[in-house]
């Protein structure tokens, strides 16, 4: 063993001493994009992809139109991010800007959910539900309707400009722009009341800001789905880059079963299948690929895992009379086993998936708990810092506090203020003059924040330290405690 190790080390030293062979790039390092003309395909995965596409588009376009009655004074749109009034609505949930952590939680659930799905089934998100994929697919469908199939489109692009070519191209871009416009148009409905905004936008009465956003999302849809396409996935999107960290040898990916397919080669009807692989090198898998790659080269960054090549290959395998699923959703581990002739079960439960599932459960549980325990009253106490405390003419000490009371209910509510804590015993409480204050109680309007000044007076002898901890407690009309905030009562230095 030691001798072998020494020899390896010796080899390394020799290798390090040798002059390096420098490979010189043959041409420029920059390569232009090769246009991709994906061919239409039909089959199991294509049908799933159509169904998911229809569902995603339906959800996107329909959601803002769902109505949800919240009573008077509140919008009746089920999903609405009201920027102007700083409120977010999702069916029965209403959030204020300071509760933006719900959104953080939602994003966390989304992220961890994506991790879990990715480690289980690979790039399902990329291949089926990502908006880039959905809209690109839609644009390609329109392209196919207007300009024809792969070979027709290639011929059209090579042909010199003619009236017919101009007409087809114009029709395609007009259709794309129309889709983009409805996409951009639907986006603003998530931030404004859909029916009224629709009328305003169509009749030219909307604000410049809204038209700008419609234009912006029209432009991004048109450019990203019409022209950028797979380049978004390959160059712009960060997700494929770090997605590799979620995948392992037990993850389902679109796989060319090389052990079955190789050695590949053309095959004429009647020829023997002996001594050769099933792959007839028809290149159908390349022709249908929306990112233009050859899946037979193995797992690649560009592969979005849509499985269209599986449909294309199954079609060919059927025609040449070989078993389907030469290209299939499989794991690296199962491929290694099958190459040796063993069957390999697909393992769903693995440390990685258990960790992701646990994380998902924890985050979702925390979100649910936060949502269920969400208080409809918030209390913020701002202690007076100038003056820190006031000595009154009889020598007693008074502190001033500004209370911000958030009333998240859809009705006006009255609150009373109490001081709690050992130090606050004997404190005399009074409310400052302000709108909504009558005697001992303060009224806060529906769905808004009320401000009230509170004064607490203690006899000098009771102020036994410079800073005494006290709680300010908010009681509702029935005397039930609805909010509590820890603060301090400040007094002069030294013992009384």
């Amino acid at each position: 063993m030691k001798a072998a190790a020494d020899e390896r080390e010796h080899e390394d030293i020799v290798a390090a001493g040798r002059p390096k062979v420098v490979e010189t790039p043959a041409g420029p390092l920059y390569a232009s994009r090769v246009r991709i003309y994906p061919r239409g395909v039909s089959g199991f995965y294509r049908n799933i992809k159509w169904a998911v596409l229809a569902l995603c588009l339906a959800v996107y376009y329909v959601t803002p139109w769902i109505r949800f009655d919240r009573g008077p004074g509140a919008p009746d749109q089920a999903v609405l991010l009201d920027i102007t009034n700083a409120r977010g609505y999702f069916f029965w949930i209403e959030i204020w800007p300071q509760e933006i952590y719900y959104l953080t939680g939602l994003l966390l659930i989304g992220a961890v959910g994506l991790f879990l799905v990715s480690s289980l089934f690979g790039r399902l998100w990329c291949g089926y539900t990502c908006p880039q994929t959905v809209w690109t697919d839609l644009f390609m469908l329109v392209e196919r309707w207007i300009e024809g199939e792969r070979h027709q489109r290639m011929r059209l692009d090579r042909a010199p400009l003619s009236a017919a070519k101009f007409a087809r191209k114009s029709a395609k871009h007009a259709a794309w722009l129309l889709i983009s416009l409805t996409t951009g148009g639907a986006w603003i409905f998530y931030f404004n009341d859909a029916p009224t905004t629709m009328v305003e936008v169509l009749t030219g009465q909307s604000s410049l800001k809204l038209y700008f956003f419609v234009g912006l999302f029209t432009a991004t849809t048109y450019v990203l789905a019409g022209f950028a396409r797979e380049q978004v996935c390959t160059y712009m999107c960060p997700w494929p880059r770090f997605q590799a960290a979620m995948l392992d040898e037990q993850t389902l990916t679109v796989t060319y079963q090389a052990w079955r397919g190789e050695p590949r080669g053309k095959h004429k009807q009647g020829d023997s299948w002996e001594g050769r692989g099933d792959c007839v090198d028809c290149r159908a898998c390349i022709a249908v690929c929306p990112t233009g790659i050859d899946i037979r080269d193995g797992m690649q960054l560009e592969c979005i895992g849509c499985g269209l090549c599986i449909d294309a290959c199954n079609d060919i395998m059927g025609k040449v009379g070989r078993p389907r699923e030469l290209i299939t959703f499989a794991t690296l581990a199962s491929q290694a086993e099958r190459a040796k002739g063993h069957e390999a079960p697909y393992r769903l439960v693995r440390p990685r998936t258990i960790i992701y599932a646990t994380m998902l459960a924890v985050v979702a549980g925390a979100m649910l708990a936060a949502l269920l325990m969400r208080a409809d009253v918030t209390l913020t106490v701002i202690r007076d810092r100038l003056p820190l405390f006031v000595t009154l003419s009889d020598g007693s000490i008074r502190n001033g506090y500004t209370l911000k009371i958030g009333n998240k209910a859809h009705e006006e509510r009255e609150f009373r203020v109490r001081f709690d804590g050992a130090a606050a015993a004997g404190a005399e409480i009074s409310l400052g003059e302000a709108a909504g204050v009558s005697g001992e109680s303060v009224a806060v309007r529906a769905d808004s924040v009320g401000t009230v000044r509170v004064y607490a007076r203690l006899e000098r002898a009771a102020v036994k330290a410079e800073s005494l901890p006290v709680d300010i407690v908010l009681l509702d009309r029935t005397g039930r405690e609805v909010a509590r905030e820890r603060t301090v009562f400040r007094g002069p230095a030294g013992r009384p």
Partner: protein, 289 residues
Amino acid sequence: MPTKIEKDEISGQQTTGHEWDGIKELDTPMPKWWVYTFYATIVFSAVYFVLFPSVPFVNSYFGGILGYNQREDVARRIEEAAAEQAPFMRRIAAATLEEIRGNPELLTYAQIGGRIAFNNNCAPCHQVGGAGARGYPNLADDDWLWGGRLEDIHQTIQYGIRNSDDRSRQSAMPRYGADRILDQRQIGDVAEYVLSLSGRAEDAERAARGAQVFAEQCVACHGERGEGNRELGAPNLTNAIWLYGGDRRSIVETIHNARNGAMPAWEGRLDAATIKMLSVYVHALGGGE
């Protein structure tokens, strides 16, 4: 300057002719997008030069063909803000102080507007929040030299204290020591008596002597029991609040030199509505009566 363009053997790229220890610098062109962005900034600056204020002259500057001016912009925005506030300011100017107090909308507006006006105009002496300082009364406590009712506060702000305005609050304490009205021993006695009013005397005999001097010299303004007189701005000497310090030394100094603090009249400096808002704000600081 290299006279001959030298090509790098490996990359085929031309070099700059610079060489360090056998390593030559390639003359790789800037990326096109970068170069075009750079050209675009040059074009932008040329256009900006023409449109906006740019070239300084000796006594003036080239103002740009758009005629844009930041000062005018600010002035216009201030005017716009004032125009938005105008309806409220008119209502406050027309309303009595009690009417402002009774109207939630005006009360909220006056308290916020008053706070801003207070911080801009009053805080240098009275401190933010009316905390006060030695010689500048705390406006958040319950002790008022000239009265703590809304109209008292309003009058004090409007006309000020001991200034050249005839309507200002006027009174003057004699300089008992400096003008030799009382001798040092008598001043010490009175100080002892004043301390006794808030229960802090150490020498009862001296305080008794001081009481006689007090009865002759001080009761006219400060009252028989030192309870003060708001008509004259004479402070209450029996409580815990001392504008110039309540220790023996400070009291002796006050009797010797007198204090007679002054406050400017704000009528003329601030409009009537602002003075009303200030009154409402100060009244609500915690000590309003």
